[in-house]
């Protein structure tokens, strides 16, 4: 089974803050990490490979430094890594991103299964997984919480819904986005780290993936940011003081007023 895992390098949320004085995003000391959901996608791919055989390829679109997360992915069990990187991709929204990723996947011969995290924690759109499947013309299932059955042709998986979960069946090739409930990702192994160190990362440019430049980056993006601003700050905090019973009485009064 050939499995492609799409990963994204994102800023670590605990470091991203808006400086209230200057109203700017403070990037000082911001670490880049693998998008947390993508770790679960990678782990599931490696588990499938261990059980059914095959290859796991990690793929990312990003600047050259995104190669770091590809190495980290290889140290956690991926076999090959592909970096799709070109200045022409800058400013891409999800529509341009899915075009770029689909062209890159076609270039490397497609896959039996494509796994993505449910969403990236910087944009939270959850649009790239479904959009990529549409571009590839393959079926997809979002928010997969468990793989129930798997063989070379068919998968049965559970997809998380708002009111419970659906058990669905789908023939390969297919794309899944996964939630964190699906597994507990492993830490890098020593062997994996050695492999990652020596890894030759394939880099694909816009020309390499035969891209129509009108569909790339800013040009290929129907959405654009009009304005960025700080969220409205909450009013002052009130501390409820007193003995436990006094605190409870005051709190209960407020809760009953709201409910």
């Amino acid at each position: 089974m050939k499995i492609i895992v799409c990963v994204k390098q994102v800023p670590d949320a605990k470091d991203v803050r808006l400086d209230p004085k200057t109203n700017t995003l403070s990037r000082e000391g911001v670490q880049s990490i693998i998008n947390p959901y993508d770790r679960h996608a990678l782990e599931e791919a490696v588990r499938l490979k261990e059980k059914h055989g095959g290859t796991v390829i990690v793929l990312t679109m990003g600047p050259p430094q995104a190669a770091e997360i590809l190495r980290e992915s290889v140290s956690c069990g991926a076999d090959e890594a592909v970096l799709v990187s070109d200045r022409a991709f800058a400013g891409a929204d999800t529509l341009a991103t899915t075009y770029t990723l689909s062209q890159a996947i076609k270039k490397i011969g497609g896959a039996d299964l494509i796994l993505c995290g449910k969403q990236a924690i910087d944009g939270d759109t959850a649009q790239v997984g479904p959009g990529l499947a549409v571009r590839m013309d393959i079926p997809y299932v979002t928010c997969v919480r468990r793989i129930v059955e798997a063989n070379d042709q068919t998968f049965v998986v559970e997809r998380l819904m708002d009111d419970g979960y659906d058990e669905v069946e789908v023939a390969l090739p297919a794309l899944f986005t996964v939630v964190k409930e699906i597994n507990e990702p492993r830490l890098p192994s020593l062997k994996g780290k050695m492999k990652a160190k020596k890894l030759a990362i394939t880099t694909l440019t816009a020309a390499d993936i035969d891209a129509d430049t009108a569909q790339l980056g800013l040009k290929g993006s129907p959405t654009w940011v009009v304005r960025v601003f700080a969220p409205q700050l909450k009013g002052d905090r009130t501390m409820i003081e007193g003995t436990v019973q006094e605190q409870v009485n005051q709190l209960a009064e407020k809760l009953l007023e709201w409910c």
């Binding site: 009111d163 964190k180 800013l218 905090r237």
Partner: protein, 397 residues
């Protein structure tokens, strides 16, 4: 990339003041951009000297933009129930439609419509497009996506709104990709730009640490998913009149390569976390499954939903669908009661947009108090049982 015309730049610093990313600075009287730039274009608009330009920003408009008209709302209907967000969308959709003087329509995809179209009309729809087909008995991305796409191509709405629910977030991206149009996820505010009638879509980014207003008005339809509980539904008016239009979709377009075999409902009579006005949430401070039962009990007394921090979920006290935060759900109820939750940023991003936040924690320095509207420093094991008792008494009398 951002192009700076150094002959035109007067070094006034307006760009610097308007950049949310700390990406442009005036150095020796000339603006200089650094690698933080995300090409948002904020500085371009602020520059009074016309010295800034983003390469590739000169947008070409589709030539037939004006043939697309009207506001559409996808009416989510599953297992015999209209998702409450549908009424909220009709509430905001009504405002947008009145402002633009265009009709508001709902789209219903189902195997059995019953009186749902009438309910949608009483909530504000002028028209309801109904596709009633056995192939729509179960939600599948392909059948629902193709149906909505085909209707959009035929009737050409300028705006399509859907709830940012499991279903909306799954199949709406399919429709937007097929129509090669823009889609903004999880909006919390929608406005019409007076100059050109464009839909302005505001959403939180970076887990709510910043807000971004997005436009996509050079393509049609302009599409957005909207967070549940943010918009206000209109009171239903059964006297409202509307038109029901029955539509047929080609059977091949309703075929799905994904087959739904079985549905398993959430255990118990739990309130859907995304739709609850009151959410009671517990964390590490509850110390175990037994402690967590206090959360469930308080939620029950308040008719609210149960939520949890990652620590409580990872410890196995409560299943994953209840997790709020970066790798769980994002909620914005009227009241969020955080008990024994310290308030790591990964948790805060999932709940900080709640209207009112009550925090109960032993540690007066816990970061949860930074986002709280009301703070109670104390032991959850002392406070919660008394609070439950008090609410119980008050409600029974």
């Amino acid at each position: 990339m951002l192009l700076i015309d150094i002959d035109a730049c007067i070094g006034c610093g307006l760009c610097e003041a308007n950049c949310a990313f700390d990406a442009i600075h005036v150095v020796d009287g000339i603006a200089e951009v650094n690698e933080n730039c995300v090409l948002c274009g904020g500085c371009v608009d602020s520059c009074e000297a016309g010295a800034l330009k983003i390469e590739g920003m000169d947008r070409e408009e589709k030539d037939d933009l004006f043939s697309w008209t009207g506001i559409w709302v996808y009416a989510e209907y599953r297992h015999g129930r209209i998702a409450p967000v549908t009424h909220e969308l009709l509430g905001v959709g009504r405002k947008l439609a009145d402002q633009k003087r265009v009709p508001l329509s709902a789209v219903l995809l189902t195997d059995h419509a019953g009186d749902v179209p009438a309910q949608l009309i009483s909530s504000g729809a002028d028209k309801v497009y109904v596709v009633e087909d056995q192939a729509l008995a179960q939600f599948t991305d392909e059948a629902y996506g193709n149906a909505l796409e085909d209707l959009a191509r035929q009737y050409k709405p300028e705006v399509i709104l859907a709830g940012a629910t499991a279903i909306g977030r799954s199949f709406i991206p399919r429709v937007a990709t097929s129509l090669k149009t823009g889609l903004t996820a999880d909006c919390t505010q929608l406005d019409i730009q007076p100059e050109d009638g464009a839909l302005l879509q505001t959403r939180p980014a970076f887990g709510g640490n910043i807000m971004a207003t997005i436009a996509s008005s050079n393509t049609r339809p302009q599409m957005a998913t909207v967070r549940p509980l943010v918009m206000k539904a209109n009171a239903p008016d059964p006297a409202r009149q509307g038109k029901i239009i029955h539509c047929t979709i080609a059977p091949a377009r309703l075929a799905s390569r994904v087959k739904v075999r079985n549905f398993v409902a959430l255990e118990g009579d739990q309130v859907n976390l995304n739709e609850a006005d009151i959410v009671v949430s517990g964390g590490r401070g509850l110390e175990g499954e037994k402690g967590f039962a206090l959360i469930t009990e308080l939620a029950h007394q308040l008719d609210g939903a149960v939520a949890a921090s990652r620590a409580a979920v990872d410890s196995g006290w409560v299943p994953y669908p209840h997790q709020v935060g970066q790798t769980g759900k994002t909620v914005s109820p009227k009241v969020y009661i955080a008990c024994g939750i310290s308030g790591a940023i990964q948790h805060l991003v999932g709940m900080q947009s709640s209207d009112t936040i009550v925090a109960i924690n032993r540690d007066p320095h816990a970061p949860i108090f930074d986002v709280a509207t009301y703070g109670v420093v104390g032991d959850v094991f002392e406070i919660l049982p008394k609070l439950i008792e008090k609410i119980k008494q008050a409600r029974s009398s």
